[in-house]
Symmetry: C2
Subunit: 756 residues, 2 copies
């Protein structure tokens, strides 16, 4: 990797100083003259027919400027799968029915938030309560209450995958095991609650500042729900305090802010409370996972039959994608000669589950990894050895998915084994202490075009100037994950410039080039990075022509940009400064500025993703024999994200992932009763704090991903996968209790101890 100057170096994040000094402007910090404050009236019932809404008393409250219900809207359903309109099942405000506690029924805008709050109490809604269903078993039972009329089975999405002769493979297996896993919902718990502020200009165009991961998707869906033209909507993403998948759809408050801004002529702002976030917000899909796997005696995998029910809550949200991906994640990481998958997305009367860091993989791979360790035990093999035997390698093909063009999985397995002293500890740790492993593979963005965009998946515009600077414009959304920094690094590297030479403008749909699908599926480094490189290369071609002409070079010379200069390779003495080369290229173009647009769409890359990350993590735990409390002593991680463009940012991702994985494994859960979430604040919802995070060691496995920009692939989500299975494996090692229904609570451990 030493060919790089800036790529691969630790670079402070572009947003670090603004956030540290408090000068970062988040959506709620946007204040416009004459601004109104919006509030949403939500359903108190999990399932009911709306008989009547009376808003007549609201208008009499001084300070109220607007009240709206579903009846006032154009009644257009939305959802991110617009390629399949039948999956779009949500209205901005409920029409006819409410389907979960918190479902949005009406909205008001008033001159201050307290008046808006008071106005909500003046809206009278008459409901006819209907029986609710709260888990997948109840929902798919014959005669269960139907949540959406169009979907009598309550199963909104079916996804099947099959390859190889699976029945034959099981028949010929030496060892087959079947397990059922239950994984639970957890919250994104982003620090910044959702917020949006809309302004309608005098031409009737809408500008919406919103805390989102997907400005372009919001633009499109807001246009269709408002029945406006896409380009009469402008989405601006201010600083965002985390998303983790929870801010990647159009949401009610975005629609209502825009609708009421248009109606009142005044800006309208919504900012959710933490209580609203916990009570009604998106969350990770709970799943019921039934997995059957076959092995040869030596541990070689023969077959896998995977059946997953996703508990989607009241609406599809990102559930179809999770359903789709679970099937792919089930076949990743190891070589499955035959494979069958059936995923079903089930409606229940709960807040919709949706995308959350890992997008189905933390659930699906929890099952994979648990079974690999269980099988190893049964077959008398070391859990790492059974993984090494089946591990995917560079060049492997996943049917219907892709060829793996880079893979450091085996190296990662060997490395964590070595770092953690695995083979010794797995044999010798005393009772109550355990060591466990969890592995992962993840996608670097999606190939599936369910959003049906007409644009390339990623785009970038690069402007190069004769003062030795460049300007990068991209619709990519930095939501705290650091893509502004990474994209600047890629451009700085390509141009041989420094970070301070690059200006970046991002995530403004009226200004930055069409389009970028947003921050999800760990797509930005690879996809937008490739678009940036494409644009940079178009400009470099012009600079190289200028340098070639200036020094009258033989056409065989390759030219490069490095250290602020442009020169024939190996001849830095014959150089122009970057600015001089730009000036010359500009003269060649009779003054026209040097601007290029670059694009990336992953064609010919199968159905799922252009590249795969890999990694392995070992956790060592101590389980208190009296209380059942699990204390993780240490993590060791070895991961392969291709070229780590910004190693410090990758480490940040790892730290955050471990914190999230800890919570997922041990402490976080929604406590619910009859569809109602009972723990709606950070006191009752038990997220690990920084004090709970154990020490951690990490090794970066060096690979070079040919499809990625400068060899890079994903580093943002895969790392969120291995922690829960590693802890579960370590707890199993420490106690003999193998948890198949997350989270691993002290109660479960003690109950298992009692029962054994």
């Amino acid at each position: 990797m030493n060919q790089f100057s800036i790529v691969g170096k630790d670079v402070p994040r572009n947003d670090a100083r603004a956030k540290a000094t408090g000068s970062a402007i988040y959506t709620d910090d946007v204040k416009l003259p004459g601004m109104l404050y919006g509030q949403i009236l939500r359903s108190p019932l999990p399932h009911a027919r709306i008989l009547h809404i009376d808003t007549s008393q609201v208008a009499s409250l001084p300070g109220v400027r607007c009240v709206m219900t579903g009846e006032d809207t154009p009644k257009v359903k939305y959802g991110n799968w617009r390629l399949f309109p039948e999956t779009q099942d949500e209205y901005p405000l409920a029409i006819d029915k409410v389907r979960f506690i918190g479902d949005e029924v009406a909205a008001v805008a008033a001159v201050d938030p307290d008046i808006a709050q008071e106005a909500l109490s003046l809206i009278k809604v008459e409901y006819e309560e209907l029986p609710g269903v709260f888990d997948v078993d109840a929902a798919i039972k014959e005669g269960a209450p139907v949540i959406h009329d169009y979907c009598p089975s309550n199963i909104s999405v079916n996804r099947k995958i099959k390859y190889g002769d699976i029945d034959k493979a099981f028949a010929e297996s030496d060892y087959v095991r079947e397990d059922t896993f239950h994984v639970h919902a957890v919250s994104h718990a982003y620090l910044e609650p959702c917020a949006a502020i809309a302004q309608c200009d005098l031409d009737g165009r809408i500008t919406l500042w919103t805390s989102t991961q997907v400005p372009y998707i919001i633009q499109c869906l807001l246009a269709s729900t408002l029945q406006m033209r896409e380009n009469d909507i402008r989405i601006i993403k201010p600083f965002v305090g985390g998303g983790f998948g929870g801010k990647m759809e159009l949401r009610t408050w975005e629609f209502c802010a825009a609708f009421m801004a248009k109606k009142t002529g005044r800006p309208v702002k919504f900012t959710l409370t933490r209580e609203e976030e916990f009570l009604t917000g998106r969350r990770r899909h709970p799943m019921k996972i039934h997995s059957k796997v076959g092995f040869k005696k030596d541990g070689t995998l023969t077959a896998k039959d995977l059946k997953i029910y996703l508990d989607g809550g009241a609406y599809n949200a990102m559930g179809p994608t999770a359903t789709f991906l679970c099937g792919n994640f089930g076949a990743m990481l190891y070589r499955y000669p035959s494979y069958r998958f059936h995923g079903q997305h089930v409606y229940t009367n709960k807040p919709p589950a949706s995308a959350m860091r890992g997008f189905g993989a933390p659930q699906s791979i929890f099952a994979t990894e648990s079974q690999m360790s269980l099988a190893a035990e049964e077959l008398g093999l070391d859990p790492i050895d059974i993984r090494l035997k089946n591990a995917q390698v560079t060049g492997d093909t996943i049917p219907d998915v892709a060829t793996i063009s880079s893979c450091g999985f085996i190296e990662a397995l060997n490395k964590v084994a070595e770092m953690s002293d695995w083979r010794e500890k797995r044999k010798t740790l005393p009772k109550g202490r355990g060591i466990g492993i969890g592995c992962y593979s993840f996608i670097s963005g999606g190939v599936f075009n369910w959003f049906n965009t007409q644009y390339p998946f990623s785009a970038a515009e690069v402007r190069a100037f004769d003062d030795g600077t460049a300007h990068l414009l991209t619709m990519a959304a930095d939501i705290g994950q650091g893509c502004d920094t990474v994209l600047k690094q890629i451009l700085a590297e390509a141009f041989g410039l420094k970070m301070e030479d690059i200006r970046i403008t991002s995530a403004d749909t009226a200004i930055t080039p069409q389009a970028d699908l947003g921050a999800w599926g760990s797509r930005l480094t690879l996809m937008n990075g490739n678009a940036v490189l494409d644009a940079a290369n178009k400009i470099k071609a012009q600079l190289f022509g200028a340098v070639s002409a200036r020094f009258n070079l033989n056409v065989i010379h390759e030219i490069e940009c490095k250290d602020g200069k442009v020169y024939p390779k190996g001849r830095p003495d014959r150089s122009l400064s970057f600015g001089e080369a730009v000036a010359m290229a500009q003269k060649i173009n009779r003054g026209e500025p040097l601007v290029a647009r670059g694009y990336y769409t992953p064609r010919n890359k199968g159905l799922v993703t252009p590249s795969f990350s890999f990694g392995a993590q070992v956790a060592e735990v101590e389980v208190d024999q009296e209380t059942g409390v699990v204390q993780v002593q240490k993590f060791w991680t070895a991961h392969d994200c291709g070229t780590a463009i910004n190693p410090m940012a990758v480490e940040g991702q790892l730290e955050g992932s471990i914190q999230m994985g800890l919570g997922y494994a041990l402490s976080e859960q929604f406590v619910m009763e009859g569809g109602k979430t009972l723990n709606t604040n950070f006191l009752d919802y038990k997220m690990p704090s920084s004090m709970d995070v154990p020490p951690s060691e990490v090794v970066h496995i060096e690979t070079y991903e040919p499809e990625g920009p400068m060899g890079a692939k994903e580093a943002g989500e895969g790392l969120a996968i291995p922690t829960a299975p590693a802890i579960a494996d370590a707890v199993g090692h420490a106690t003999g209790y193998r948890c198949k229904d997350l989270p691993i609570t002290p109660e479960k451990i003690l109950r298992a101890k009692r029962e054994s």
Copy 2:
């Protein structure tokens, strides 16, 4: 002109509703968190050496955050003629010397404006007073005080033009006359005083919102004076309440706001008071004009020898351009077989004169027109006949300047004669009533590249979308003259769309395409309009390809965009909607959005301008025989601006021009004493109000300018020229008094009456 759908139609200005409803954001309306308020300490003396500045007491005043003097700055001189660095004579804050009352000496920034004001009184400046000079005669006298050391003669610019054998031509003339004219300074009196607010981001980049006509020029000059890179500076032009030439240079408060924002880390705003504007602001050049013209007996012009001294005040400002242009204006309008010009720009200890609507032409052409009427009288000809005899026509050449590619001057002369019943009234009006004529020709932007830009003179980016909309991005500065509207019309016409289908983003140097030289010299309609058309045509080429492929058209077909459709000419039945054509072109490009940049630089168009406007105006006056008060009864105007893109906006220009011309002719002047301006408010500075403006009739002479976009040329400044000479001619006709030293005050008329 009936080939157009939107061009040539009255279209409400893009900014009309925002301004009428009060929602327009001007620079002073920009409010940023933690903002400081700046104030400038100005020289109380017209000419002095600065011996010492003591700012030590300022820091002790609570609330003051920054104080700066010229010594703190990088000491880089600025000026718009950067091609000739010797003409750049101004520092952001005075160094060593002050040269006029109001010259900027120091600046402070404080948490509120009152504290900043108080802080100024704590700055102690020790001056050594020097003798001042206050008019050109005194300034160029042998032994006069030297204002700038580099320029012992006080003459900073010499400009000479010569063609034809002028001495022979005078010798062969039947009639030669010589006159000396004095024209005076007037104020731009824009409604919005100058203001600027700067913010320094955490990367050290500056964003400056400023009330300016020239965002790009401010960007460049701010960069050089701060010794920063051009592209680390971003200039945003909010709504601007008028400029008229007074906001086309970098100014002290722009520099100081940026400098102190960088130093304090907080935004810094300056807003000038009206008193500061009148006391120290730029103004129209006073000039002493000596003109000798020769004629044949029949009125045919033979020669002109023009000598002009421009009273530039303390710094060059835009004086070099005015000096340069005066020479060209002197040879425009009529056919001069031989011509000689000598212009001299003279320093005096007064506030710098600079560009003002007409840029030297109101002065130069006042002399031209006065002499034409005087000569007509002497030769026994009708003033209109002598003009008709000498009028320029299409195809005429002005040596070293251009070939006139469209000219409606003769038609305009005939038209005003007819409209005003000229021939009858010139003979029969009773004593005390008079009718007079004034004519003009003006440039449509400049060819001269004294700013030495590396970019095309104008640029536009156009993005076309499949929802049937388009987005226009341009650095062109709408300062109230309506160019945003005109540019949108041009694009709407080119695409066959409606005004509401076009979004425009303008005048943000970090976002809109490099570059545009700004709003001056009536350049934007022609130059930026051409850039917009260039971009539109590049996109149309793609749409036409798509339509041609879609309908399998014979290659001979021409295709057009009209009424929201794209179709082969004459076959609107075979059409795609604009959006469908874009969608298809996008598919052809595998999803890449349709974006194009267009440029315009007036190559091969001589030295001055690519095209010329023409016009004639008749004024009828009544002069009170007792008081000498002149009352204009009516104006008749016939003008040739090529295609009037937005006739309503052209009429607006005419109305404003008449109001300004009235003031210039009759009432406005700076009353000065020892370099000090005494009338510094709208009570004492006598601008005509709307009640003072007489009725007016206008006829638009239809021509088609081949170099202009859709046949257009300038309409913004030429109209400001004829009013003063027309009134002077009418007063002469009414009273026999021919004013050669504007303004035409009652005192002068009565004095002339007494003397005759």
